[in-house]
């Protein structure tokens, strides 16, 4: 009894903790300050020097809304110092993208650093943004356009920020991952935003060359990041520096340079620890039970209801003095379902030998014919009726799917068997067979693991061994160590583990959900497939 309790404790307590320890934690997400997420940069190409602010519009500030309160721009020289309103942006002024707005502060003087804030009065409720700074205007060396001055209404592109570069984890080297917060000008479906260019160099100051480009949009929604793997002829062990340029209309904005990053190979894939643990338990229990079965220990398997139906059906055919048809599917010997079907044929043959009932086994593969003949001969031997056996009990019709179905139909209608067995792998021809069998009032017992055919067999036959029941029945009958051991191993190392983990974590997740805690996401992450 002690062993069972110990096993129970392991599954209920130790296993969940082990999974929690081994699972892969996600990387940090980008830092942003909803709803505005205010950012500011010194206006590029502005020879007189100014600061441009960019923020995301509040909910409701959309073109179709008739009116929306103004945004007031607040500025101060100290992070927590007094903020004074320097301007306000009305609903009518043009937007930068359909979800963000911009403002240019030309009154900022050189050499000073400033802090900015946005606030908006929504029917009496003041909504303030994050404080952005310090930022100081820098006189650009050369102007962009001909006229030099940057117009007040010109929209400028904001660079991607928070760029991180590191070796791509869990791979065989030769690739570096870049992650960055998308540029403020990267609005979905905007016709002007043209994605990002990736530039790479082997030293921070050295020459950078373009190594790739990618489209706009966030690629990792949970962490609000855009990520890209650079795999263009990267040497392991070599240091690389990167920066990313956002392209908008004809402008480009470069992020700061990030690096160095070195590509390396890893020996163990840290994201697949949970798979290793659970798969290890499953494999361990399968091998353990196969060895126990080989050592002759008795392994309990419950009574299979389907096998009772088999015995009854053979009995009924004997009473009526009619034949029994046995169809082992239309697949070859390399299909596990055919092998399971032939094991059940062994049992049926043993019963027909004892009751002296006529048995016919039309097959559609020559290899299956050879194997089936061996099995039927052996069963007749075990039943003490070797004389009753002859080779034409098992005969070959044709390899073709519909030809075989038409052939069997002809036989069934002519010989009117009392019972028909369909045990093995079937495809669309199962319909034709079951229908003809039904039309002559035969009892039909089916068994297959083909998902698409199960509904038809269940609806058309008197009894159906569903999926695994077919394999369990063949293990139950053959008592073969490797089949019995596998079945027990799958039950205890697979299904029992699934059931217990599911129950434990459903309870924790339900409590977590009502407590609005992070635990629900953590549980999901524990079973992530990486």
């Amino acid at each position: 009894m002690g062993k069972k309790v110990a096993l129970g404790i392991c599954i209920v307590i130790i296993l969940p903790l082990l999974i929690w320890l081994v699972h892969m934690k996600p990387g940090p997400s980008s830092i942003s300050y909803p709803p505005y997420d205010l950012t500011a940069i010194s206006t590029p190409f502005d020879t007189s020097g100014s600061v441009t602010l960019n923020w995301f519009c509040l909910e409701g500030d959309i073109d179709s809304a008739a009116v929306f309160p103004d945004y007031s721009i607040l500025r101060s020289q100290e992070p927590d110092g007094p903020f004074e309103k320097i301007d306000s942006v009305g609903f009518e002024s043009p937007r930068a993208t359909d979800i963000s707005r911009q403002y240019r502060d030309t009154s900022a003087s050189m050499g000073f650093s400033y802090y900015y804030k946005i606030s908006c009065d929504l029917q009496g409720q003041i909504v303030e943004s994050n404080i952005f700074g310090p930022i100081s205007p820098v006189m650009a060396a050369e102007a962009a356009g001909v006229e030099g001055m940057v117009e007040a209404t010109d929209i400028i592109v904001f660079p991607p920020t928070q760029l991180k570069v590191f070796d791509t984890p869990n791979d065989a080297g030769g690739s570096i991952t870049l992650e960055w917060k998308v540029s403020a000008s990267d609005a979905a479906k905007s016709l002007l935003f043209n994605g990002y260019d990736i530039y790479r160099g082997t030293s921070a100051e050295g020459l950078f060359e373009k190594v790739g480009e990618t489209t706009g949009g966030v690629s990792d929604v949970d962490r609000q990041m855009k990520s890209l793997r650079d795999g263009r002829d990267i040497l392991n062990g070599q240091e690389y520096y990167y920066y990313v340029a956002a392209k908008w209309d004809s402008q480009e904005a470069n992020s700061e340079i990030a690096g160095p990053a070195v590509s390396r190979q890893q020996w163990f894939h840290t994201g697949r620890g949970v798979s290793l643990v659970l798969l290890g338990i499953l494999i361990g229990s399968i091998l353990y039970f196969i060895n126990r079965a080989k050592a002759g220990k008795e392994l309990f398997i419950r009574k299979i209801a389907g096998l009772e139906a088999v015995d009854e059906a053979v009995g009924r055919a004997t009473e009526m003095g009619k034949a029994i048809f046995y169809i082992p599917g239309i697949q070859d010997m390399n299909n596990m379902q055919t092998i399971a079907g032939l094991t059940i044929l062994g049992r049926v043959a043993k019963l027909t030998a004892e009751y002296e009932t006529r048995l016919e086994v039309p097959v559609s593969r020559s290899l299956v014919m050879v194997a089936a003949r061996e099995i039927v001969k052996e069963s007749y031997l075990n039943a003490g009726r070797p004389d009753y056996y002859n080779d034409d009990i098992v005969y070959y019709l044709t390899d073709d799917q519909f030809g075989y179905a038409a052939g069997v139909d002809g036989l069934v209608i002519r010989k009117k068997p009392a019972t028909i067995f369909y045990q093995g792998a079937f495809f669309a021809e199962s319909l034709i067979l079951a229908e003809t069998g039904n039309s002559i009032g035969a009892i039909q017992i089916a068994g297959t693991a083909m998902p698409a055919q199960l509904p038809f067999f269940v609806a058309a036959c008197d009894y159906t061994l569903i999926g695994e029941e077919l394999f369990a029945a063949s293990a139950y009958l053959s008592r073969e160590p490797k089949l019995l051991g596998s079945l027990k191993g799958q039950d205890l190392g697979g299904k029992l583990i699934f059931l217990s983990l599911a129950l434990i974590f459903v309870i924790i997740a339900t409590l977590g959900a009502f407590a609005e805690s992070e635990i629900v996401d953590t549980i999901q992450r524990m079973f992530n497939v990486n």
């Binding site: 790739g212 489209t215 949009g217 209801a305 139906a309 009032g441 009892i443 009894y463």
Partner: protein
């Protein structure tokens, strides 16, 4: 009364064939369209495609044969129209040998440009000459779409694509040139460099394999168009988020055609499909009534469960 039910049960199978033949043919002549509500699994796929920014690259894997053409060809055509109209570039491959030809035929059917498709002199012309025109938008072979043909190897092809795409599909099918020569393949080294995979599947290898490898191992979003036989098996993957949408059979194709705004064959066939379902349900009801009416008399007892 029993005589009637017995004669009903003993009807020859061929009479039922004629009834179904008529039930499905008549609506084809009537050509009345029916309102088709859009289900969530199709909306999810459409939204996933809508989220792709312009110029994204989609890998279209055609894993079906003519046997599933009525279900999968209409959604293939609707998808290609959508890609061309929204400037999404698509690379055609197939894990079934018939897949790439079916894709070629889909492009032929949606192409509204009159000039002939065969390129006379090969050198640089393949960039501009092969134009597919769909409601004003153009797509050029080698720049906006390409066909890289079929590879045998079932799911191992997907696994191999994960580490090197060029090693699995080295040559294009129109010109037999190495794929490196075409601009559309710029920057595509492995499967993860694609922004989306659209898989049209009729069996094995198909959607299950694409989920097992493209999604679970290489983390590329996969949207699937399935034959209706296969669709129910894919729903668990939709629930876990492994699949970004399922188009189930001709019905899924009709809904997708409606979302894309190109109502075509799938929508047209829905009337016949509805008639087919009505008759099948009728057959089951009548068959069971006859069965129960005659059962009390006959001695055949179904085995108790």
């Amino acid at each position: 009364m029993n005589k009637f039910w017995e004669r009903l049960l003993a009807i020859d199978r061929r009479i039922i064939f004629v009834v179904i033949f008529l039930a499905l043919s008549v609506p084809i002549f009537l050509q009345i369209g029916l309102p088709i509500p859009v289900t969530s699994e199709v909306q999810i796929l459409y939204d996933a495609l809508e989220d792709l920014s312009r110029g994204s690259r989609i890998l279209v894997s055609c894993d079906f044969d003519p046997g599933s053409e009525p279900e999968l060809q209409p959604m293939t055509e609707a998808a290609f129209k959508y890609f061309i109209e929204n400037d999404l570039k698509f690379v055609i491959i197939g894990l079934w040998p018939q897949g790439p030809i079916q894709a070629n035929r889909a492009i032929e059917d949606i192409n509204e440009s009159e000039d002939d498709f065969i390129v006379e002199n090969g050198d640089t012309l393949y960039f501009g000459e092969d134009i597919v025109v769909v409601s004003g938008d153009t797509a050029r072979y080698g720049i906006d779409f390409i066909n890289l043909g079929f590879q045998v190897g079932q799911e191992l092809v997907i696994q191999r694509m994960g580490t090197s795409f060029e090693a699995t599909f080295p040559t294009d099918k129109r010109f037999g040139l190495s794929q490196k020569e075409f601009p559309i393949m710029d920057g595509i080294y492995r499967l993860a460099d694609f922004d989306f995979v659209f898989n049209l599947s009729a069996g094995y290898p198909g959607t299950t394999e694409w989920v097992q490898f493209a999604v679970d191992r290489f983390h590329v979003p996969v949207g699937a168009g399935n034959t209706a036989v296969q669709a129910p098996l894919a729903y668990p993957y939709l629930d876990t988020g492994q699949l970004s949408g399922i188009l189930g059979g001709m019905k899924g194709g009709a809904e997708f055609e409606r979302l894309v705004g190109h109502k075509a064959r799938a929508t047209l066939f829905m009337t016949s499909q509805t008639m087919a379902h009505i008759f099948v349900m009728l057959f089951i009801v009548v068959g069971n009534l006859a069965f129960f009416a005659t059962m009390r008399k006959s001695d055949k007892q179904g085995l108790k469960r």
